[in-house]
């Protein structure tokens, strides 16, 4: 046999093998991509013919491991994220009506660990009556002393920041006197039956947070804030067993939090407890046998779904970073609920009989957007920004990137805040190249000599990059050239990205910050479900973070300031109507739209034959990327 013909055989074999592999991969991935069904409700009815009843263990796959682990002391940093312990292990004083929230985007505050609350006539003092007879899962009693201890402990860990409560600077901490000495006294005394010395400190009504009894706690604000209760719904508002913290090493220090609770979480009052943790792999939960809500009636739970004791004994939440692995688990039944991202989303859409998935209401608080640097040429020119917002085709982006899953939005207010959304009834910016060119001419910018502008998107966000490419093509039609800079996550910070720091820090770095920046690292959801949230974050010169456009305007700032100083909603509305118009005219942001799918290009999906319904967190995935699993109901049960 000749050498040439001998060499041919392995080559031919390799080619055949590669062709077979390509054919297999093509078969697996080649599907038409139906759009998101706008009629798919967030609470999907499962098929009646399949297996019935809850599984013995509910398995959920999530793309992310909690940043901050399971340590609830990190809540002042708005982590852990995702916090799978939200409402499953930890509960807050108040919550939202989850059914109303995800059916219609209605924001209704409901009691949770508080039974009721009152506000003083001047709107600065809120008194909460706490639920009695509630214990943490380890038997420690829940009471006002525990809540007091938690709030002050977290204030201490934040390095005594007056904005420790989810970045809302509502307290006057100038006379606050809490530090290591008080913590030591707390540890010595305990919070179950506090010593007289500790009681004296806890009942001191000159302080912003104090107790008036075992089951009553008072928050005194520096100025009226009518939406204060909503700030307690998540993050810092999730109540943990402070007594347990004190007995297990304490809070730590501002630069060295107690890490004992990373994988051994602090007990909570919720319907589940953590039974096992494998770092970066899974968390196991089991029902809390002493959950106070076990005695709630079906009507109680229907009225307040987040109080549900849960319908399955055991839950395992896995972190699986690979989308193929998560989809595989969902399709084989290894997981009943799984977060599926854009890579495999078409597989979910083409099997509507097999998979249900979460669709946000049009009125939600999760959105995607692009910021324009209002301090760097040429995006510092208002007319230029107006040209941009009229050139970008939002419908195209929605169809091609988000499977049709973007609901139109006029920011900054979240659509779910219906009373406050789009004050002035302003229309969407028209996608009109003629109008865009007119604005461009008005701006005085000569695009023929303009160097390419920077557009930063974070690495790993596929839909961010896909959107950027469409925006790039749209702006090219009016002569603007964009360079898309895919930025590693560890550089998604100052001086490259303004939203990572305060407004002033962003301003200082404004000439380095890109002209265009993706808003956040993917989708954006609030830290607290208040109508003030968006204004405080995106439009304020006092914001601690998220003012990606480095935007400030006196008319807008008047609205921002009114939220935490004005008791009359009518006055706030008047100021914010003017502010809304101002921001509309200034156009510092391109509001791409409110997302319908949890991950933008994908969502939380479930096996329709097993799962009937579920709710997400009360801040539209601001605190968790998967379902609140005590709200999961099952087909046939």
């Amino acid at each position: 046999m000749s050498t040439t013909s001998r060499a041919k055989k392995p080559i031919v074999a390799v080619v055949i093998i590669v062709l077979v592999l390509i054919a297999g991969v093509w078969y697996y991935t080649s599907q038409s991509t139906p759009a998101v069904s706008t009629t798919t409700a967030s609470l999907t009815t499962g098929s009646s013919s399949a297996q019935s009843g809850a599984p013995s263990t509910l398995v959920i796959d999530d793309p992310f491991w909690p940043s901050g682990d399971l340590n609830q002391l990190n809540s002042i940093y708005a982590i852990p994220y995702p916090d799978w312990l939200t409402y499953t292990v930890y509960q807050s004083l108040v919550t939202l009506d989850g059914n109303a929230l995800y059916a219609n985007g209605d924001v209704k505050v409901l009691p949770m660990l508080a039974t009721d609350w009152t506000a003083s006539s001047d709107g600065t003092t809120y008194t909460f009556d706490l639920r009695q007879g509630v214990t943490f899962s380890n038997g420690d009693p829940f009471n006002a002393y525990q809540v007091w201890g938690q709030m002050w402990g977290l204030y201490y860990l934040s390095s005594n920041s007056s904005a420790f409560l989810n970045a809302y600077p509502v307290f006057d901490m100038s006379k606050a006197n809490f530090g290591p000495a008080t913590l030591a006294l707390m540890a010595q005394s305990g919070l179950v039956n506090p010593s007289p010395d500790l009681m004296k400190i806890m009942t001191d009504n000159t302080q912003p947070i104090y107790v008036t009894g075992q089951y009553q706690i008072v928050f005194h604000l520096k100025a009226p804030f009518i939406y204060f209760p909503s700030t307690l719904v998540a993050f810092v508002g999730l109540i943990f067993d402070t007594q347990y913290v004190l007995q297990n090493g304490g809070f730590g220090t501002p630069v060295a939090f107690n890490t004992n609770f990373n994988q051994k979480p602090i007990p909570g009052t919720g319907p589940y407890v953590v039974t096992d943790v494998s770092e970066n792999s899974y968390v196991k939960f089991a029902k809390n046998p002493s959950y106070w809500g076990d005695s709630l009636s079906a009507a109680d739970i229907q009225a307040n779904a987040y109080l549900d004791p849960g319908h399955v004994q055991n839950v395992i939440v896995y972190t699986k970073s690979d989308d193929v692995a998560r989809f595989t688990d969902l399709s084989t039944g290894a997981a009943q609920i799984s977060g599926i991202e854009s890579q495999n989303w078409p597989q979910v859409l083409k099997n509507p009989d097999k998979y249900g998935y979460f669709v946000m209401p049009d009125a939600s608080m999760a959105f995607v957007g692009i910021s324009m640097n209002t301090h760097r040429y040429p995006t510092n020119i208002t007319a230029f920004r107006q040209a941009v917002v009229h050139a970008v085709n939002l419908t195209d982006i929605s169809q091609r990137v988000f499977f049709g899953g973007l609901a139109p939005m006029i920011g900054p207010e979240y659509p779910a805040q219906k009373e406050w959304y789009d004050l002035g009834n302003l229309p969407q910016y028209s996608n009109d190249l003629t109008v865009a060119k007119q604005y461009l001419a008005q701006s005085g910018v000569d695009v023929s000599t303009l160097p390419p502008l920077e557009f930063r998107v974070v690495s790993g966000c596929t839909y961010c990059y896909s959107t950027a490419q469409i925006v790039q093509a749209d702006l090219a039609q009016i002569g603007i050239t964009l360079n898309i800079e895919v930025t590693p996550g560890n550089q998604w910070t100052l001086p490259y990205v303004a939203g990572a720091g305060t407004y002033q820090q962003g301003l200082n770095a404004s000439q380095q910050v890109a002209q265009f920046t993706w808003f956040g690292t993917g989708t954006f959801a609030p830290g607290a479900p208040t109508p003030a949230d968006a204004w405080l974050l995106f439009a304020s010169d006092k914001t601690p973070a998220n003012n990606y456009a480095i935007y400030s305007n006196p008319t807008v700032q008047a609205c921002v300031d009114a939220w935490t100083s004005e008791n009359d909603p009518g006055v706030i509305k008047s100021l914010c109507t003017a502010a809304q118009k101002q921001m509309y005219d200034d156009a510092p942001y391109i509001w791409l739209g409110a997302i319908k799918l949890v991950f933008g290009g994908g969502s939380v999906a479930w096996q329709k034959s097993v799962v009937k319904s579920a709710l997400l967190d009360p801040v539209f995935t601001g605190i968790s990327s998967t379902v609140i699993f005590n709200t999961v109901t099952f087909v046939g049960s």
Binding site: R6, K9, I17, S159, V255, T259, S321, G489, A545
Partner: protein, 340 residues
């Protein structure tokens, strides 16, 4: 030179390599750009500037690189690899202690599969050289060798989990099972020792795909080297003598030829360990296996300098040790090596 001197020289060289890896990794990781305090604290750095400042001072984040390196070496001398921001400031040593056993499990199994498959196919390929069997084997190993490990991992996941449904998609074991007590530090071995067979079976099934993904891209070089080595040896004089003595071909091949042909595999084994260890970074992320490879990616994404350095040191240590063992074994087998 005698064996002791040879070993000491190799150890000294290994220490130098580790120091170089550490220095280069330190400099490169500090050149990633961005302010690490924002990567570590996220929005908290903006929300609480005084907290950011405290972290900057405590970890010397804004000091020159050589100053930071000095403090790192001082801590290292005390056995302190620092605290891992991407793991919520848990000591790096703790994270490594937690993750390294899982990576070693994958690597060890992958080594076994690589050697068993590689040697078997190398022998068969050489025995039936220039036949369709030889051609098929060569095509097979070339395809594996040319494929990136993450690609092979995804393919295996699609075939064995998605299509056939016979192996799990990820993780290290079924969390509903009782974990074994710590004996050797390798959970799969510990479960076998204490007779925890459900856990052992679960851990084994979870190991198969990641280990095979690594082995499939590595065995090819073993097969190729062994095939070439065997074919060369089978034409030497002593083999001709063995045949002339009237020994049957199988005895000549396996007893006389194979034994010597395996010697290059010994020195190759250190390279295999290197490829397998570095390949775990891809494979562990595809299969969500909680080993050091996953931690490395997490540390890189979080600009976690202590984590990046700690894992680099451990990887370098493992690879240098493997090379050292290979060199020693080779020197034992072939004394001529020591004379160089």
């Amino acid at each position: 030179m005698n064996l002791t001197k040879y070993i000491l020289r190799r150890v000294a060289f290994g220490a130098l390599v580790i120091l170089s890896v550490m220095t280069i990794t330190f400099v490169l990781s500090h050149s990633l750009g961005g302010d690490p305090v924002y990567a570590w604290l996220g929005k908290a750095a903006g929300m609480h500037p005084e907290l950011a400042q405290a972290y900057i001072q405590k970890y010397h984040l804004h000091d020159p690189v050589y100053v930071q390196y000095y403090f790192y070496l001082v801590n290292l001398a005390q056995g302190n690899l620092g605290y891992s921001p991407s793991r919520n400031f848990v000591p790096v040593t703790e994270v490594i202690a937690e993750t390294l056993p899982y990576t070693l499990q994958i690597a060890l199994f992958a080594i076994v599969i690589t050697l068993v498959v590689g040697i078997t196919l190398g022998v068969v390929s050489a025995r039936y050289h220039h036949t369709p069997i030889d051609a098929t084997i060569r095509a097979f190993y070339l395809t594996g060798y040319a494929s990136p490990p993450f690609f092979v991992a995804l393919l295996l996941l699609i075939v064995f989990t998605y299509l056939l449904g016979i192996l799990p998609s990820g993780g290290a074991f079924d969390p509903t099972l009782t974990k074994p007590t710590w004996i050797t530090g390798l959970p799969i071995i510990d479960s076998l020792i204490e007779g925890n067979f459900p856990y052992f079976t679960s851990a084994l099934t979870h190991l198969i795909l990641p280990s095979c993904a690594l082995a499939l891209v590595t065995f090819g070089i073993v097969t190729r080297i062994l095939r070439s080595s065997l074919l060369e040896i089978m034409h030497t004089n002593y083999i001709r003598t063995a045949r002339a003595k009237g020994l049957d071909e199988n005895t000549v091949f396996y007893k006389h030829g194979l034994r010597h042909a395996l010697i290059p595999i010994v020195s190759l084994s250190s390279l295999i360990v290197t490829w397998l260890i570095t390949g775990t970074i891809f494979v562990e992320n595809v299969f969500s296996y909680p080993g050091m490879g996953r931690y490395v990616v997490q540390a890189l994404n979080g600009e976690d300098y202590p984590g990046i350095l700690g894992t680099a040191i451990v990887f370098a240590l493992v690879i240098v040790t493997a090379n050292l063992i290979a060199d020693i074994l080779y020197a034992v087998v072939d004394p001529q090596v020591r004379l160089g």
